[in-house]
Every structure is written in structure tokens, then in C-alpha cells.
């Protein structure tokens, strides 16, 4: 059921202690900064967060990690020049890390949305990231079994939404948005613009409204 809400705080109110939260964005492109700030404000803790990175600098996801609200990160690239809050928590043994090759991260999120129970991929075969995982040889190539990543809530950013929740994105800010929207039970979207239903070309919808639950316009 789709609702348009007036504030980012209301938009994230469904996030509880222990929730798994997917957060869109790659670098700053597509990051739902305002929704992350609202997640910070709402107080939910023991979170599992799925994002490509593990926070940068002293804002957004990095702050959430600093405050000890994140129990586990599922990501592909936690180490960056300014990922000091994650680094500190990790070295202190206060945060769990599931490191996932970026393509496996994307495909596992996609699998969750598409109802796939698991899949074999050559990525990671023969590496330490396949340790403990089921493997098999298919058509002569070693492959690793990977499971879908589901989430309770996805927080994503899009360019525009129409009245039924159809979304379009902008350039490389699209990144994880469409697949996270499909993989979460409840998808919250911050958009720059809301247009009337019929205002987006049906040929060009990237995320159909069926995947969207809450929309908030962010100035």
C-alpha cells in the first residue's frame, strides 16, 4: 500500500530495533541522505545495514556506525580513506562485516526481489570470499552458491515519482535503487519531484509502483 508522507521522520517510522535496512547509493550518487538522517534520529538499533560501502566522513551511515546502532554491515567496499568510524568499530570487534563482491551483492539483492532461492556464480570461486560456501563445477567453471539478501526496509533516492509510485532516476544515481526497492518488504523513497499520475512515460518507468510503499519529497 502506497502512502505519500510529509516528513522523512514519518517515512522511516517503520524501522525497528534489529531491522535489516538496505540503503541505496554509490558514493554520494543516489544516497538518500535525508532518510539516513531520519534513521539516525529515530533511534532504532541493532541494525543490519546493506550498502555498497560502510560510511564516509562524519555524516550519514558513518554516524550511525559511530553511535553503535549498526550490528552488522553487508557491503563490498568498507575501506575508504575516510571510513574511520567503521574502521574503529571493526578493529574493536564491535561490528560484524559480511564482505560481498559487488556483483554478488547486486545479484543477491536482485534475487531476493525476483524470488530466487539462490544461484551459482563464478565470481569469488577459489578466493577466501568463497570459504565455507558450497561450490560446484558447471560447464567447466568453478562456481559458488550465493543466497538472496532480503531486507525489512529499503531507503532509496529517486528523481521523480508519480501518483502510483512509479519512479525514474537520474544518471548513475540509479545504481542500487531499483533492486533494493524490489528486495525489501517496505520501500521508502525520497524524491525531488512528485508528478501527477500519467506524467511519466510508461515506456520509461524504471521502478514500477508495486515496489514502493512510502514516498517523501525532499527539497
Amino acid at each position: 500500500m502506497l502512502t505519500f508522507v510529509d516528513s522523512v521522520n514519518e517515512a522511516v517510522s517503520g524501522i525497528k530495533d534489529g531491522s535489516t535496512v538496505m540503503i541505496g547509493g554509490f558514493g554520494n550518487a543516489g544516497q538518500p541522505f535525508e532518510l539516513i538522517d531520519a534513521l539516525m534520529a529515530c533511534g532504532a538499533k541493532d541494525l543490519t545495514v546493506v550498502n555498497n560501502n560502510a560510511g564516509q566522513g562524519d555524516q550519514g551511515l558513518a554516524l550511525l556506525i559511530k553511535e553503535g546502532r549498526v550490528k552488522k554491515m553487508i557491503c563490498s567496499f568498507p575501506r575508504q580513506s575516510d571510513s574511520w568510524h567503521f574502521d574503529a568499530k571493526f578493529h574493536a570487534g564491535e561490528i560484524e562485516l559480511e564482505l560481498v563482491p559487488q556483483g554478488n551483492l547486486a545479484e543477491r539483492i536482485r534475487a531476493a526481489g525476483a524470488g530466487i532461492g539462490g544461484f551459482f556464480t563464478p565470481t569469488g570461486y577459489g578466493t577466501m570470499l568463497a570459504e565455507g560456501k558450497e561450490t560446484r563445477i558447471i560447464d567447466g567453471r568453478g562456481q559458488v552458491f550465493e543466497m538472496p539478501i532480503h531486507a525489512d526496509v529499503a531507503l532509496i533516492k529517486a528523481l521523480k515519482a508519480d501518483g502510483v509510485g512509479n519512479l525514474v532516476y537520474r544518471k548513475t544515481a540509479r545504481n542500487f535503487g531499483p533492486i533494493m526497492a524490489a528486495a525489501a518488504k517496505h520501500t521508502v523513497v525520497q524524491v525531488s519531484e512528485i508528478v501527477p499520475t500519467g506524467g511519466l512515460d510508461p515506456e520509461n518507468i524504471v521502478t514500477p509502483g508495486i515496489y514502493v510503499n512510502s514516498i517523501v519529497k525532499v527539497a
Binding site: 554509490f26 554520494n28 550518487a29 563490498s76 563482491p101 556483483g103 563464478p122 578466493t127
Partner: protein, 230 residues
């Protein structure tokens, strides 16, 4: 024996080791016209400066774009248009955008002709180690390296042949954690270009050293490229 001596001499194509820019220029020249290419973060990015318009190369960036143009400057900088290194870039005519799963499907499905990556080590059989030092206190971060290594039709590595300590980065077996198994097809270094594969390591050309001098540096048996022998 004299034939081999000839071959060893004939594959030395430069009096001096190549610098980073010369290496990038050489890689760029070797990319077949019309190829779809992903250039890894760091040194491989330099290759884009030497691609010629008539080569008609399409660049892919794994965060969701084909048809990536040069780095953006001034008013062209757009926070929504970045490459995998999170640097603002531009869009060329014919570009397209797609989400992350579709973008990695391009890589993982074998649709890229070439990816160019940096490396810590490459083994005699083309194993690649480029994502993790394996140090106990290091925070591991893999990004798209394993997908590129496993997915592209050809994986080109660019690196210096030797570490700062003078050890060869071409090794019998990688001691660093692997990125991919048997995936590297070509290694561009300051001292030589190597072709790697199940049959071992072949030297295509050397820079500032002879085949024999090169063999002294590298702890795996080298072959001279057959095509150059004649």
C-alpha cells in the same frame, strides 16, 4: 639455440623501461577497435587518455553506465554522474544508464571485451591477486574486482614488474589472497608484456632488458612469443 637468441633479441622493443604513461599508451594501442572496456581504479584509468576516437571504444563503469566520457571539469561536474572511483565524469553520445544488477550482468555475463586492472601479483597460470594484502589488521574491501576478473573476456593487468623490494610480482603461485583463478590473459609491466594462460607465461616484448635479463628477474619459466621468433 641461435634461433632462440634471435627471438630474445627481437622482442626487445624499447631501450628503456616504460613509464606509467607510456604503458597506458601501449595498452590503449592494443585494444581492438570497437571493444567494450572497463578500466579499473588507479593506473588503468590512465589508459582512457590514450584511446583514439577512431578506435571507437565504449567504456563501461560498473556503477551503471556504458558510453562514459572523460573526467568532468568545471561546470560539467554533476554529482549524479560519477565513475566507479567516485570521480565526476561525462556522458558521450550513445551512452546508457542501468541499475547495479544490470551493470554487473554486463560484466559477469562475459559481454566486456577487456578489463584493465592493477595487481599485487599474477601467477604463472593467470591467477590474480589485487584486492587484499592479507595483513591481519587490514580491513578487506573487494568492490567489483572479482566480478571484473571473472567476467571479462580478456583481463589485462598493469603493474610494475617488481615490488619496491625488488621481488617479482609475476610468481609461481600468489601469496596474497586471490581475486580470481586463471583469469589474467595479459600483463603489462614497465619491463615487459607477458601473455598468461594455461600454457604458462609468454613474453611478447621487453623494455630496456633482454629476454635473458628478464628471466633472471622472474621466478617462473618464460617463453618468447612465437609470432616474434620468425
Amino acid at each position: 639455440m641461435s634461433a632462440q637468441t634471435n627471438s630474445q633479441a627481437s622482442i626487445q622493443t624499447s631501450d628503456k623501461p616504460l613509464g606509467r604513461e607510456q604503458l597506458a599508451e601501449l595498452v590503449a594501442r592494443d585494444i581492438a577497435p570497437g571493444s567494450f572496456v572497463n578500466l579499473g581504479i588507479g593506473q588503468p584509468t590512465l589508459v582512457s587518455n590514450y584511446l583514439k576516437p577512431e578506435q571507437n571504444i565504449t567504456l563501461h563503469t560498473e556503477n551503471g553506465m556504458l558510453g562514459m566520457g572523460p573526467e568532468a571539469e568545471g561546470d560539467d561536474i554533476d554529482g549524479d554522474l560519477i565513475n566507479a572511483g567516485k570521480i565526476p565524469v561525462t556522458e558521450l553520445p550513445g551512452a546508457s544508464y542501468f541499475h547495479h544488477a544490470d551493470s554487473f550482468a554486463i560484466m559477469r555475463g562475459g559481454h566486456l571485451d577487456i578489463c584493465v586492472l592493477g595487481a599485487f601479483q599474477v601467477s604463472a597460470t593467470g591467477d590474480l591477486a589485487n584486492w587484499h594484502t592479507g595483513a591481519p589488521d587490514a580491513i578487506p574491501a573487494v568492490g567489483g574486482a572479482m566480478d571484473l576478473a571473472t567476467g571479462a573476456k580478456d583481463v589485462f593487468v598493469m603493474m610494475t614488474l617488481l615490488t619496491r623490494d625488488g621481488a617479482s610480482k609475476i610468481v609461481e603461485a600468489c601469496t596474497y589472497p586471490l581475486t580470481g583463478v586463471g583469469c589474467v590473459t595479459r600483463v603489462y609491466t614497465d619491463k615487459a608484456v607477458f601473455l598468461t594462460g594455461p600454457d604458462g607465461v609468454t613474453v611478447r616484448e621487453t623494455f630496456g632488458c633482454t629476454f635473458e635479463e628478464l628471466q633472471e628477474l622472474v621466478p617462473v619459466p618464460l617463453k618468447a612469443a612465437a609470432a616474434v621468433v620468425g
